[in-house]
């Protein structure tokens, strides 16, 4: 038996329209009334709303939306999310399934904080819901918040995000502040046509080290929700950031946009991981700028697409100084009629000599109807540069299956184990054994679900 996933066009019953929503998505929060936020921020929201209205809905001619299924971004009647009806059960859910080791744990439901728990934060670290932080630490935030002007196509979404009342965290580790335990953030969303705006702003000052994990889940199956998220990562001299997004929303209805802007300064290193298991449609943009000598960015992704899921990922590795390095390693395992799009550019800017930059996208096709699109790109305007990019698509090799079968493992299980291993190669590159085990188990769980659906 196979599960029947309702195609999007039928459930969002509306005509294609240029107006996604007609009023700014603002909600009043008890914790931080709008009036308490700094004037510059209210101005930014206002400008963002204007910009959102000016920007056209992306069309096929926009190079950043090549191969994209534009039906997925015909929105109308979007609404800011109403409070979740049973926050206690969501907190329990989040607690029941989280990596054992964490420095802090926050849970948001429908764009509102419903739980926070500080376990082991180092002295000096700030870890606060963004709207609270705006009131208390506006000056620390201002220089880093939504500063990126380049876009990988999602500028209309970014503008909408800028206009909205945000959820998510401000994580600020001052000079020398180090923790190897991640800050965990759960984001639940639910309700027909409802929007959430998670923002993650992570700042690692000189020689600080911080790890943040966002986990996205749906409150219930089969609700048409939309995430419009932005992740700003800033690592100063010698700073280290690891950011992981585990997206596990309902594959029947949820849409998820996440725009990541990374800036790595002198000798800074940033690891970013996107793990997509759920949602009907996902758009990840990851724009990584290495702005000073010794900066390093590593971008990983492991995606398991099934049914009619579509994962659309666009990346930029922007080398803007000498002796910078970056490595991108994306893996897609595709089943049924799922689609993936990978478009990645390595740009070595003039003067960024002695750059090492790598980019790999591998697709494992588990079905003949699945479709993996890869568009790797390279633009080099400097000397003494080592760059490589490659993308491959293939099936599991018969010899691998044979080897597992020869140890008594049935062929179907063998395929699953090999596919899981294929995705795990990307997860393996992250830091933290506990976290990796947790992510691995989540991927394994989705594989088990494929069986039930089959």
């Amino acid at each position: 038996m196979s599960i029947v996933l309702t195609p999007m066009e039928e459930t969002i019953t509306l005509e294609p329209t240029e107006v996604w929503l007609s009023n700014p998505p603002l909600t009043e929060s008890d914790a931080a009334p709008a009036a308490a936020t700094p004037a510059w921020y209210r101005e930014l929201q206002q400008k963002s709303w204007e910009r959102f209205n000016e920007l056209p809905v992306p069309t096929r001619t926009n190079q950043h939306w090549r191969f994209a299924d534009l039906k997925m971004i015909r929105f109308a009647d979007l609404a800011t999310a109403a409070p979740a009806s049973d926050p206690a059960s969501l907190v329990a859910r989040a607690k029941a399934n989280r990596p054992a080791d964490f420095s802090a744990h926050f849970v948001f439901a429908n764009n509102r904080l419903i739980h926070s728990e500080i376990a082991d934060l180092p002295a000096g670290a700030i870890c606060l819901p963004l709207n609270e932080a705006l009131a208390a630490h506006g000056d620390l935030i201002r220089g880093h918040f939504l500063q990126e002007t380049q876009t990988l196509g999602g500028d209309k979404f970014a503008a909408l995000h800028g206009a909205a009342t945000l959820s998510g965290l401000f994580v600020h580790f001052p000079k020398g502040c180090v923790s190897d335990k991640p800050v965990l953030v759960h984001h639940f969303s639910g309700g027909e046509g409802q929007l959430i705006f998670p923002h993650t702003l992570v700042v690692a000052e000189d020689n600080a080290a911080v790890s943040v994990v966002d986990i996205f889940e749906s409150i219930a199956e089969s609700e048409q929700t939309l995430t419009v998220g932005v992740v700003d990562l800033i690592a100063d001299r010698g700073g280290k950031i690891q950011y992981v997004s585990l997206q596990n929303l309902s594959d029947n209805g949820a849409k998820h946009v996440q725009i990541n802007n990374t800036r790595a300064g002198r000798d800074a290193s940033v690891k970013v991981g996107f793990i997509n298991l759920g949602a009907a449609w996902v758009r990840n943009e990851s724009l990584n700028r290495m702005t000073d000598k010794g900066a390093d960015c590593q971008i990983f992704s492991a995606n398991l697409a099934n049914g009619i899921q579509e994962y659309d990922q666009r990346t930029l590795q922007s080398h803007e100084a000498q002796h910078t390095t970056s490595d991108l390693f994306f893996k897609n395992a595709l089943y049924n009629k799922s689609r993936t799009i990978f478009s990645g550019l390595i740009h070595v800017k003039p003067g960024a000599h002695h750059t090492d930059s790598f980019q790999t996208c591998r697709n494992l096709l588990g079905s003949e109807e699945a479709e993996a699109n890869s568009m790797p790109g390279l633009e080099i305007d400097a000397d003494q540069v080592k760059c490589s990019h490659g993308s491959t698509s293939g099936q599991i090799s018969d010899e691998e299956i044979f080897y597992l079968q020869a140890r008594g493992i049935p062929a179907d299980d063998a395929r699953k184990i090999i596919s899981l291993g294929f995705l795990n190669e990307s997860i393996e590159k992250l830091e933290g054994d506990e976290l990796k085990q947790y992510l691995f188990t989540e991927v394994e769980r989705k594989f088990a679900k494929l069986d039930e659906d089959a």
Binding site: D398, E399, E400, F402, Y403, L404, Q405, A406, R407, G408, I409, P410, A411, D413, A414, I417, I418, L420, G421, F422, L423, N424, E425, E428
Partner: protein
């Protein structure tokens, strides 16, 4: 009930070329047999045919594992029925840790609904790895990926020790091993010798048989067994070389 691994008049082809040309031999439970033969005589082909590799077509003959017709079973069923092949060239499985791989192989042997006891499993695996002088770090590493030749062979023996087959075929497990590694591997095999288990040791060199002393030695050439004898046959072969086999033993 039969108590042997019995190959009778086995013919097999690959891509239309006949490689096995009527091979017959029987390894009774409790015995260790060796197959020696020059490169290209079909030793690996024999082992893969028994394991069920789909590139090979059996055109005639039978392979019986006790009372089970091995050739009628799927690849994984053969393994679960008690057949084990230590590969000459073990495959690499990226991203799948050795521990998870072995655990899945053990899980496949349990009735539905039963789970491998993780604690007991790790304890047993560590013990067996110690016996083989394998570092614990190999549990977390991807199966065979980046392993040296010798490490791959040890890993094959570890799998054999964890799966405890009724009959094990070892295809040139000695090649690529230095003398210390060879002794360790031999020790691993010897520790598993029992009246309940049969071994078929495929080797190109006599050296391994100093450490795993066989009950019977078969000489294979051009897809057949052309001579069978005691353990001294290996020595004689070593001394006289494979030319002796091909010139004197092969009927014109």
């Amino acid at each position: 009930m039969s108590q042997s691994l019995k190959i009778e008049n086995l013919h097999a082809t690959v891509d239309g070329t006949e490689i096995l040309k009527g091979l017959t031999l029987e390894v009774p439970k409790g015995e260790v047999h060796a197959i020696m033969g020059p490169n290209g005589s079909g030793k690996s082909t024999l082992s893969k045919v028994m394991a069920g590799h789909e590139a090979y077509t059996v055109t005639e003959g039978t392979v019986m594992l006790d009372d089970i017709n091995l050739l009628e079973l799927a690849i994984d069923e053969r393994s679960r029925a008690g057949f084990f092949l230590a590969f000459q060239y073990p495959h690499e499985i990226p991203g799948v840790s050795n521990a998870n791989f072995l655990r899945a192989a053990r899980q496949a042997r349990l009735p539905k609904g039963e789970e491998v006891d993780a604690v007991a499993f790790y304890k047993e695996m560590y013990l067996k790895m110690d016996e083989l002088g394998m570092d614990r770090k190999f549990t977390g590493r991807s199966v065979n990926e980046g392993f040296s030749g010798g490490e791959k062979k040890r890993n094959e023996i570890l799998q054999m020790m964890m799966l405890e087959p009724k009959y094990a075929v070892l295809d040139e497990t000695d090649s690529g091993l230095d003398i210390d590694a060879l002794k360790i591997v031999a020790q691993g095999v010897n520790s598993m010798r029992s009246p309940e288990r049969g071994f078929l040791i495929i080797t190109h060199y006599q050296r391994l048989l100093d450490y795993i002393v066989p009950d019977v030695v078969h000489v294979m050439f051009d897809g057949r067994i052309i001579k069978t004898g005691g353990k001294d046959l290996a020595l004689e072969l070593e001394e006289k070389g494979y030319d002796w086999v091909t010139k004197e033993l092969v009927p014109a």
